[in-house]
C-alpha cells in the first residue's frame, strides 16, 4: 500500500520489500540505527534485474528533485534514468543528509550520490573486467551492460554472485555531507543524461490517481485525531466539558495536556464533530498582539543587532549632495499548504515510534519526536511521504507531534489531519520585516553613499530543524520551552543584491518574537527566509535611485554591477522583454495605465532577473500582471524541463505573495483562517505571457532553483506599478486598496 511512491517504474530491490518494512509492527525492543554513511550500499544498491536503488534524505517535495537526482546517478552508472528508483527520507533506510532546504539539494545534496554512483560503476567495471577477460579501461557501458573483449555482461549478472559494497570516506555534516570512494565522477563535458529534459518520475502516477501521499497512510487499528487550538494567542485552558462529544458514535476520547487539546475517534467525521463538540473554557490572555506589526517592529528594542557588509566612508551619506530615503514593509505570510498538516504516528510500548509525514527534514524530526517522548532517537523512525507541497518548515512537523501526543495517550496509531484554520491561522509564519534604505548622490549625480537597515522577527523562532521538543507547537502549548529558537537576520547581501557603491553601511536587527509561549505568529522559514523581504526593499529602492538620477532602471543597475553572471541575467531578461531604455514613470494617463519593471536577485550562486509588465486601473487601484519574463542562471542545468516547471510555479506563487498574501490579525488572534481571508494567486491573476530564458553554464557546478526565482518578483511588480502610474508601493501586498490609496495621495 505504501510502495507506489517509494519505487520507480522498473527498479525492484531484490531481497527485501520496502513497503513491508515500512508498516510492519515493531517490537518494544526495536531500535533504528541510521544506515552507515561510510558504506556504499547505504547509498546505492544494484538489483539482480539491473535496477538501481538510491537511498537518500533528499525528498521530493513536488519540484522534480527525484528525477534530477536519477539523471545524476544514471549519468555516472551509464544506465537509463528510468532504471533508477528511490527510497526517500526514511530514517531507518536513508543516510542523514540534513533533509532538504535552502535550494541546496542539487548543489550539495547530489554530491554523495554522484560519488557513490561513480564508485559503484568502478566496482562493477572491476568485476566485469575479470568476467570478460578484458582490461577495465577498455570496457564500455551501455544502459547497464558492460561490453569488452567481444563479450558483454549486465550489471544485474555481475551482482548475482558478488556483494557490491565498499568503504567510503565521509566528510561534512547536514546539507554538506559528502562521501568519496574509488570511483571518480565523469567530467561534465561527457554528460549525456544530465542536461537533457526528462519527465518527472513521480508525476504521472499523481495525475493518474495512483500515487499515495502522507494523507493516505493507513495502518492497522489507526484512529483519527483532530486538535483544538486556543481561540486567542496565549489563552489557557480553564475547564473542559466533553459530555456532548461522548454522545458521538465513534468518539474515543479527549486528550488535554497543558493547553494542548485534541480528540481521537474511530473515523474522521466523528473526530471533526467531536472537536467541535468539546466545550473548552479558555482564559482571556493577558498579552495582546501588536495593533500594527510594522509600528511594533520599528518601536521595539532589538534583541540582537549585527553590522553587515560595510565599506568606505561611514559619513559619506551625511556629506552627499543629494539624499533619498525610503522604508519598505513585508507582512507575515503563511505557508498555507494546499493540504493542512497531516501525519500518522504509532507510539508503542517503551516509546518505540513510527511517524509518517511530509517533513523536509526527517532525521531532525526523529530527534525532536524522541525528545518529546523522552526516549533515545533510535526508538523513533520517521518515514517521509509526499505531502501538499512544502515551502520550508511547513507544519508537517507540528502535525507529527500532535499525532505522537495523541497516539501516546491512546496507545493506538493516530492520524492527525489539521483543519484549514489549524494550518493558515496556527501554522508558523514567514517573518514580517521593515527595511530602511538611504542613498546619497554626488554633485555629478553618481551614487556616493548607501545605507541598509533591517528590522525583522527571527526566521528561526521556530527553527527549521525540528530536533528539539519545544520546536513543536503541541509541546509549547503543553508548556515546554522553545530551546532551539534561533536569531536570524535579514542581512544585506544574503537577502538582496549588492551594488558597487563606493561607500555603504549595513546593519540588521532582530526584534523579540511573539512566541510566548505559543503564538500563531511565531516565525519560521517560508520559501527563501528573508530573501523576498530584503530583495523587495533593495530592488525597489534601486529603481527609486534610478528615478532620482533620471536613469533607465536597467542601465542604472548595470552601471553599478560588475559580476558578469548578474549582468548576463539582467541583460537577458531585458532583451527578451524588448526593454527600451527610458526613465520611469513612463505610463500614459488613461484609466488603465501600463508599466514595466525589472528586479534581479542572487541566492546561493543562482542568478535571476525578472521583468514584469502590469496594467494598473487608476480608478480601482487593481493591478494585473500581464507578462513576466524571467532569466535564470543556476549553473549547469540538470533537467531543463523540470527547471522550467519549478521557475514558472515560483513566479506565480511569488506574484501572489506580492499582490495578495498577508496574514491578518487582531489584538487576540489571527483572522486569516481560510482561502477567503488568506488570499493567494488564482487562475484569474495569472499573466497571459510567462517567458523563461534559461542560461546554462555546463562549466559551472549545478546550483539551486527551488527558491531564487521567488525573490525578485515583488520588486519587479512594484517597479512596474511605479512605471505605470508614478506611485511607489513600499508595502506588500500591493493590493488594490493600497494602490488606490497611494494614487489618492499622489
Amino acid at each position: 500500500m505504501l510502495a507506489t511512491s517509494r519505487r520507480g517504474f522498473f527498479g525492484v530491490v531484490v531481497g527485501f520489500s520496502i513497503a513491508d518494512s515500512a508498516i510492519a509492527p515493531r517490537a518494544a525492543a526495536d531500535t533504528v540505527k541510521p544506515p552507515a554513511s561510510d558504506r556504499l550500499d547505504s547509498w546505492i544498491r544494484i538489483g539482480r534485474d539491473g535496477g538501481v536503488t538510491v537511498f537518500t534524505d533528499k525528498v521530493d517535495i513536488g519540484m522534480g528533485l527525484q528525477t534530477a537526482l536519477s539523471q545524476i546517478v544514471a549519468e555516472e552508472l551509464d544506465v537509463s534514468p528510468r532504471r533508477v528508483s528511490f527510497v526517500l527520507g526514511d530514517t531507518a533506510m536513508t543516510p542523514d543528509q540534513g533533509g532538504v532546504g535552502g535550494s541546496t539539494s542539487i548543489s550539495n545534496g547530489a554530491r554523495p550520490l554522484r560519488n557513490a554512483a561513480a564508485t559503484a560503476r568502478a566496482l562493477l567495471l572491476q568485476l566485469a573486467a575479470e568476467r570478460l577477460g578484458a582490461p577495465a579501461g577498455e570496457l564500455t557501458v551501455a544502459d547497464g551492460v558492460v561490453i569488452g573483449g567481444g563479450k558483454s555482461v549486465s550489471y544485474g549478472e555481475l551482482v548475482r554472485d558478488h556483494e557490491l559494497n565498499g568503504a567510503l570516506r565521509v566528510s561534512g555534516r547536514g546539507f554538506n555531507v559528502n562521501v568519496e570512494g574509488q570511483g571518480k565522477p565523469k567530467d561534465p563535458s561527457q554528460y549525456k543524461v544530465v542536461g537533457k529534459p526528462l519527465p518527472r518520475a513521480e508525476l504521472a502516477a499523481k495525475i493518474l490517481g495512483t500515487a499515495e501521499y502522507s494523507t493516505d497512510v493507513r495502518v492497522p487499528g489507526m484512529l483519527h485525531g483532530r486538535v483544538m487550538r486556543p481561540p486567542a494567542a496565549g489563552a489557557k485552558i480553564e475547564s473542559v466539558d466533553d459530555s456532548a462529544a461522548k454522545k458521538i458514535p465513534g468518539f474515543v476520547r479527549t486528550v488535554v495536556k497543558g493547553n494542548f487539546a485534541g480528540v481521537v475517534a474511530e473515523n474522521e467525521w466523528a473526530a471533526i464533530r467531536a472537536a467541535k463538540a468539546v466545550n473548552i473554557t479558555w482564559s482571556k490572555p493577558a498579552a495582546e498582539l501588536p495593533a500594527d506589526v510594522f509600528a511594533h517592529l520599528r518601536a521595539t528594542a532589538p534583541k540582537a543587532s549585527r553590522p553587515g557588509l560595510s565599506r568606505g566612508d561611514a559619513n559619506a551619506l551625511a556629506s552627499a549632495a543629494r539624499k533619498i530615503e525610503a522604508s519598505y514593509e513585508w507582512p507575515f505570510q503563511a505557508h498555507a499548504t494546499m493540504g493542512p498538516g497531516c501525519a500518522v504516528a504509532d507510539v508503542r510500548a517503551g516509546g518505540v515510534t513510527t511517524v509518517w509525514c511530509g517533513s523536509q527534514k526527517n532525521h531532525a524530526l526523529q530527534k525532536g519526536i524522541a525528545d518529546l517522548l523522552r526516549v533515545p532517537p533510535d526508538r523513533v523512525r520517521c518515514i517521509w511521504m509526499p505531502d501538499a507541497g512544502s515551502y520550508g518548515r511547513a507544519g508537517y512537523e507540528d502535525a507529527a507531534a500532535d499525532a505522537v501526543v495523541l497516539s501516546q495517550e491512546t496507545g493506538k496509531p493516530v492520524r492527525v489531519q489539521w483543519m484549514r484554520a489549524d494550518m493558515t491561522a496556527w501554522g508558523s509564519k514567514g517573518p514580517a520585516a521593515v527595511i530602511d534604505l538611504a542613498a546619497g548622490f554626488d554633485a555629478a549625480g553618481n551614487v556616493s553613499a548607501f545605507r541598509f537597515e533591517s528590522r525583522c522577527f527571527s526566521g528561526s523562532e521556530v527553527l527549521y530543524v525540528a530536533d528539539a521538543a519545544g520546536n513543536f507547537l503541541a509541546a509549547r502549548l503543553m508548556g515546554l520551552p522553545n530551546t532551539s529558537a534561533g536569531t536570524e537576520f535579514c542581512n544585506f547581501g544574503d537577502c538582496c543584491p549588492v551594488y558597487e557603491f563606493p561607500n555603504l553601511q549595513s546593519v540588521a536587527h532582530v526584534v523579540p518574537g511573539l512566541d510566548d509561549p505559543a503564538s500563531p505568529l511565531a516565525a519560521t522559514h517560508l520559501r527563501d527566509p528573508n530573501g523576498p523581504q530584503g530583495t523587495f526593499a533593495m530592488e525597489s529602492f534601486i529603481d527609486e535611485m534610478a528615478a532620482a538620477a533620471g536613469s533607465d532602471p536597467v542601465e542604472f543597475r548595470l552601471k553599478y554591477t560588475k559580476d558578469p553572471r548578474a549582468r548576463a541575467v539582467i541583460t537577458a531578461a531585458a532583451e527578451r522583454a524588448g526593454w527600451k531604455p527610458r526613465k520611469s514613470p513612463g505610463g500614459d494617463a488613461g484609466a488603465v495605465s501600463r508599466g514595466r519593471g525589472m528586479a534581479y536577485a542572487v541566492r546561493g550562486g543562482t542568478y535571476v532577473a525578472t521583468v514584469a509588465e502590469v496594467e494598473v486601473n487608476r480608478r480601482t487601484g487593481a493591478v494585473r500582471v500581464t507578462r513576466m519574463v524571467c532569466a535564470h542562471d543556476c549553473g549547469l542545468i540538470v533537467n531543463p524541463d523540470g527547471l522550467r516547471g519549478v521557475v514558472c510555479a515560483n513566479l506565480i506563487q511569488s506574484m501572489g505573495r506580492a499582490l495578495k498574501e498577508e496574514v491578518l490579525f487582531d489584538r487576540e488572534r489571527v483572522t486569516s483562517v481560510d482561502w477567503n481571508t488568506y488570499r493567494v494567486a488564482r487562475a484569474g491573476d495569472v499573466p497571459e505571457h510567462v517567458e523563461l530564458v534559461l542560461l546554462n553554464h555546463p562549466e559551472l557546478p549545478p546550483g539551486g532553483a527551488g527558491e531564487p526565482s521567488s525573490r525578485p518578483t515583488a520588486a519587479a511588480i512594484g517597479n512596474a506599478i511605479f512605471d505605470a502610474v508614478g506611485v511607489r508601493l513600499r508595502r506588500v501586498p500591493m493590493n488594490a486598496e493600497r494602490v488606490k490609496a497611494a494614487l489618492a495621495r499622489a
Binding site: 484549514r420 510555479a649 487562475a683
Partner: protein, 167 residues
C-alpha cells in the same frame, strides 16, 4: 447512521454512514479511495473534487446522503494507467503540477469544461477555474495542459510524442 447506496467509478457500494457526513470522508475512510483530498473542508479550494452525475462537486461539503444513487467518478475513475483519459495524457505531457495535491480539482473541472465547451476561450477557461486553488502556482502549465487537452479532444492535435521536449 443509515445504509446509503453509492456508485463510484462504476462499482456499487453500500456504506453505513451518518447521512450528514460529507462524501469526502466516506470515499476516503470507508471505500479507501484516496483521490479526493482534504484541502479546506469549506468548498473553497477544490482539492476534494469528484464528479457527481458528470458535474464537479466539492465532496468536503456534500452530504453523503445527497450522493446516494448518483454516479460518482473520482480522478482514478476518469482513465486507467493503461488507458488514461485524454485530459490526463495532456496534463502528463505538459508536466502540469508541482506537488499535485490540488490536481483533482483542476483535472475534473477541466473535464467538465471541455465536455460542455470543447473550444473554451482563455477567459472561459480562467472563469471555469476561478474557484480552485493551486498553492504551488502551477497555473501556467495547467493552462497549457487544458489547451492541449482541448486540441486532443477536438481531434485537431493528437498526443504526439514530444521527443521529450528538446531542450
Amino acid at each position: 447512521m443509515a445504509k446509503i447506496p453509492l456508485h463510484v467509478n462504476g462499482k456499487a457500494h453500500t456504506v453505513d454512514a451518518d447521512p450528514d457526513c460529507p462524501l469526502l470522508y466516506v470515499l476516503r475512510g470507508d471505500l479507501e479511495l484516496n483521490n479526493p483530498r482534504f484541502g479546506c473542508g469549506l468548498a473553497q479550494c477544490g482539492a476534494c473534487t469528484v464528479l457527481v452525475d458528470g458535474h464537479p462537486a466539492r465532496s468536503c461539503v456534500l452530504p453523503v446522503s445527497r450522493a446516494a444513487n448518483k454516479q460518482i467518478v473520482t480522478l482514478n475513475g476518469l482513465g486507467t494507467p493503461e488507458h488514461p483519459h485524454p485530459i490526463q495524457t495532456a496534463f502528463i505531457e505538459e508536466q502540469a503540477f508541482q506537488c499535485g495535491y490540488c490536481l483533482n480539482g483542476w483535472i475534473l473541472t477541466a473535464n467538465a469544461l471541455l465536455d460542455r465547451n470543447p473550444h473554451p476561450s482563455e477567459e472561459e477557461m480562467r472563469a471555469a477555474f476561478a474557484g480552485l486553488v493551486c498553492r504551488c502556482g502551477s497555473h501556467v502549465r495547467i493552462f497549457d495542459a487544458v489547451r492541449r487537452a482541448a486540441g486532443m479532444i477536438r481531434g485537431s492535435g493528437q498526443a504526439k510524442d514530444q521527443d521529450w521536449r528538446r531542450a
